[in-house]
């Protein structure tokens, strides 16, 4: 990351109505050399104008040429190299020059001149404005077409106001702090610090540029020193560093893009007629080597400098003419080329653009790798699934209430999972889902309290490829949290979390996605009716919606999830009914039937919205427990209720009642339950509010 100093004075506005004071060529060379020596990789020659703009104000700034630097060449080259090494800037970075105009605006008329159609301003690379009063400052921030707002902090005649500064930042305008004011004398320093602190505070280092504005060589400081000096203004090291390097770079890239490109995207270049090209043959590499920072003429390479010096020594007398940099450059078609390419020196650097593309490629490469890793892990997990299911069985057996039928379907699941990765995942997910709905169904039977307590007792949450990460001992029983990595599915991770048991959460991937299904899952697993359900799930594996549901990021996307859940829950409830009819023993045969049936009947299944809502509420309630309840309260009143319920029942008193929830009951109440429940919930909500 190179450092920039974007205001090397070229001319000052006339002090008392005279001609503008142009800084002597000698001083300018000195300043540029100093900046170069201290390790900066870019400078901007700043012309300050005042009053009405005319055509003679358009850019006439001659950029420095190698010829002017040649006198000090060998020492300069070695010194620059030395300082760049210390700063960590690659030696081969070209030294860039830009032109910049700073318009001092005092009144409305001058403000209006700062528009995008102004040809005078267009002739400069960078356009800055120096507002002199409140009105012009407001205008500059809000509507003027400028790149930089440069404020003279030593004699501020207006007040900074937060909303205006914010507006400017929003428009992508940069604020500039010139540190030469800081160095002048104690009086000015005091004012600058007090005024600039406010700006630094408000911008937080964003859209802030630090430049020297040095009237003499003594006031040019090294990048490190500048960064440290900014601590006086309350700017932290990192931000100060960004302000002197990254922000400048971004600004320049943006400005040049705006200036040189049609709609910031298309560039037209002249091609020599000798060059022929066809569609089959891609264009020469030059087009790809576009350098976002190059202003065209002003780039200087260290190597060129050294070369120039050698040349002068060889040709002795023709010194500055030996390599006339500008003439070489001027002979070339357009700005887009790098000097290096033309002069034909050894390939010192890869131009930044190429580097960036490299990086891009690199990052692209990484993605598939990750995928590979994922899939690999999946395969690993595949083997583990069996074990997890077995563990489940064990647990369920530990729990008194688990019937043999629950075990068989579990096995079923695992076998189906064995068939294929994707199917597996989905199956698993759906499995969990169904369980969720199951749990929902249970409350339908009016057994809510028992259910919740039951949930606590067992929570083998499972989906995708289960890697048993940790088994957690809870008050009532064990719960196994299985953390999944699903490879074949867009989101790379599912995190299942046992919610009902207070706060057992396994974070695998940093995504922070906590799948709600897991929470509800446990609830369902206990019921006797499980068997049918599970099989259904595996059969449902083909639905795309599943994974989304399972993987939804609960923290953020509760809204989205509701839709998916909606479908799923309705489907699953249907299945529930069926499963109610068919008991565990014939599970295998039913499975296939259900698959076919499910797919055909999808549309009709969507009908039951009640259950959906219920589902939602449940899920969110569990979520509530874990994280912030406040967040979700606004969405559904009912959720809160549920969570409360859960909390209340968490004490574990209801465990004995588990056995009450049976399929038979479920089936019995089915027609009424959903409605009933809904009513009940809403009633409670009202009650609570009151």
């Amino acid at each position: 990351m190179g450092f920039f100093d974007l205001s090397i004075p070229y001319s000052y506005p006339p002090s008392s109505g005279g001609k503008e004071v142009v800084v002597g060529e000698k001083l300018r060379v000195k300043l540029a050399m100093k900046a170069m020596e201290l390790g900066y990789v870019g400078i901007a020659h700043n012309r300050s104008i005042e009053g009405a703009m005319s055509n003679k104000d358009s850019c006439t700034i001659p950029l420095l040429t190698l010829g002017s630097l040649v006198k000090a060449a060998p020492r300069l080259a070695s010194s620059v190299g030395f300082h760049r090494d210390l700063l960590g800037v690659p030696r081969a970075t070209p030294f860039r020059q830009y032109t910049r105009v700073t318009v001092n605006v005092e009144n409305n008329a001058q403000c209006q001149g700062l528009n995008s159609g102004n040809q005078v301003l267009k002739s400069y690379d960078i356009v800055a404005v120096r507002p002199m009063n409140q009105y012009t400052f407001d205008h500059a921030c809000k509507s003027a077409e400028v790149d930089i707002i440069s404020i003279d902090f030593s004699k501020m005649s207006f007040r900074l106001m937060h909303p205006i500064v914010k507006a400017a930042i929003k428009r992508g305008i940069y604020f500039e702090i010139m540190y030469s004011d800081l160095l002048k004398d104690a009086q000015k320093r005091r004012q600058v610090i007090s005024n600039a602190k406010l700006l630094v505070d408000w911008t937080k280092g964003k859209n802030l540029i630090i430049s020297s504005g040095a009237p003499s060589v003594t006031e040019v400081k090294g990048p490190n020193d500048v960064i440290n000096l900014m601590s006086l203004l309350g700017l932290s090291t990192e931000r100060a560093k960004a302000a002197i390097s990254k922000n400048c770079r971004n600004m320049i890239a943006k400005v040049l893009k705006k200036k040189r490109f049609h709609k910031e995207a298309v560039k037209v270049e002249l091609l020599s007629s000798s060059e022929t090209f066809s569609l089959e043959q891609p264009l020469s590499g030059d087009c790809m080597k576009w350098d976002p920072l190059s202003s065209g003429e002003g780039d200087m390479l260290l190597a060129d400098l050294a070369k120039a010096f050698d040349a002068t020594r060889a040709v002795a007398h023709k010194s500055s003419k030996a390599i006339d940099f500008t003439s070489v450059v001027n002979g070339l078609p357009s700005h887009g080329f790098r000097v290096k390419d033309i002069v034909g020196t050894e390939p010192l650097t890869q131009p930044p653009a190429a580097k960036m593309s490299d990086a891009l490629v690199h990052s692209n490469k990484q993605v598939p790798e990750v995928c590979m890793a994922d899939s690999a892990s999946c395969e690993d997990n595949l083997r583990k699934i069996e074990t997890t299911s077995q563990i489940k069985m064990l647990i369920s057996e530990d729990d008194n209430k688990v019937e043999p039928r629950t075990i068989t379907p579990l096995r079923k699941c695992s076998t189906t999972q064995g068939q294929g990765l994707l199917v597996q995942n989905q199956a698993a997910a759906s499995f969990t889902l169904v369980r969720c709905t199951k749990s929902n169904a249970a409350p339908d039977v009016n057994m809510q309290t028992e259910l919740v307590s039951e949930d606590k007792s067992m929570s083998p949450s499972k989906s995708g490829h289960g890697v048993p990460q940790s088994s957690v001992e809870n008050l009532n029983s064990e719960s196994i949290v299985v953390d999944d990595e699903v490879s074949g599915i867009p989101q790379s991770s599912i995190e299942t979390i046992v919610v009902d048991d207070e706060e057992v959460s396994v974070d695998r991937d940093s995504k922070g996605a906590i799948s709600g299904h897991a929470n509800i899952e446990h609830c369902a697993s206990i019921e006797g009716a499980d068997n049918g359900m599970k099989i259904d799930d595996s059969s449902e594996a083909k639905h795309d919606g599943y994974m989304e549901v399972t993987m939804e990021d609960q923290k953020h996307e509760t809204g989205d999830s509701s839709i998916n859940l909606h479908k799923l829950s309705s489907e699953t409830t249907d299945l529930l009914r069926e499963s109610g009819n068919s008991l565990s023993t014939e599970v295998v045969e039913q499975e296939h039937d259900q698959v076919s049936r499910l797919e055909s009947n999808k549309a009709e299944e969507l009908g039951e919205e009640l259950s959906v809502q219920h589902h939602n509420t449940f899920e969110i309630a569990t979520e509530d427990k874990k994280e912030s309840e406040a967040e979700i309260e606004s969405k559904h009143q009912a959720h809160v209720q549920y969570s409360e319920r859960n909390n209340a029942t968490n004490s574990g008193k209801a465990r004995a009642k588990k056995s009450r929830v049976r399929l038979a009951q479920l089936r019995l109440y089915k027609p009424f339950l959903l409605q009933y429940l809904f009513k009940r919930i809403s009633k409670r909500g009202k009650h609570r509010r009151a």
């Binding site: 100093k34 000090a72 070695s78 210390l86 003594t218 040019v220 490190n224 020193d225 440290n228 601590s231």
Partner: protein, 152 residues
Amino acid sequence: MVGFKNRYMLMEVFLDPDKDLLGEGTPIILTQFNLSKAIKDSILVNFGECGLGSSLGSFQVKHVNPVTKLCIVRSSREEHRQVWSAITLVKSIGNCPVVFNLLDNSGCIRACKDTALKCETEKFKQISTKSLSEEEIREMNRCLDKLKLLEN
């Protein structure tokens, strides 16, 4: 673990950069004394008596090389940014305008010494393009020897 920590700042000094850019001439001779005096004055001006008092405890100019114009300044870690700022704000030593430039900032004298040695040789190479007098070369060698023996 050491309770009290220092920072060693390796600075280079540009004497009168306006006149001779790369420090060809030597209008004044840098010494530990005039350097530390200039820095202390700057601290006093910019941070007041309290600032000076708090930084004075461990402030010291450890090493000065008048030939290559490198110096090492020690300061306590808490105050080092203050001291550094003050050094940046030094405008002149005596009548000679100066610019300080930080080359390296390290937490122990050994690391600082290593970098300093590297920088010394580098700088010496740079200035040795013009002919150096016997005197200067002797001075340089003396400084290098001193630097090698530098401790805390």
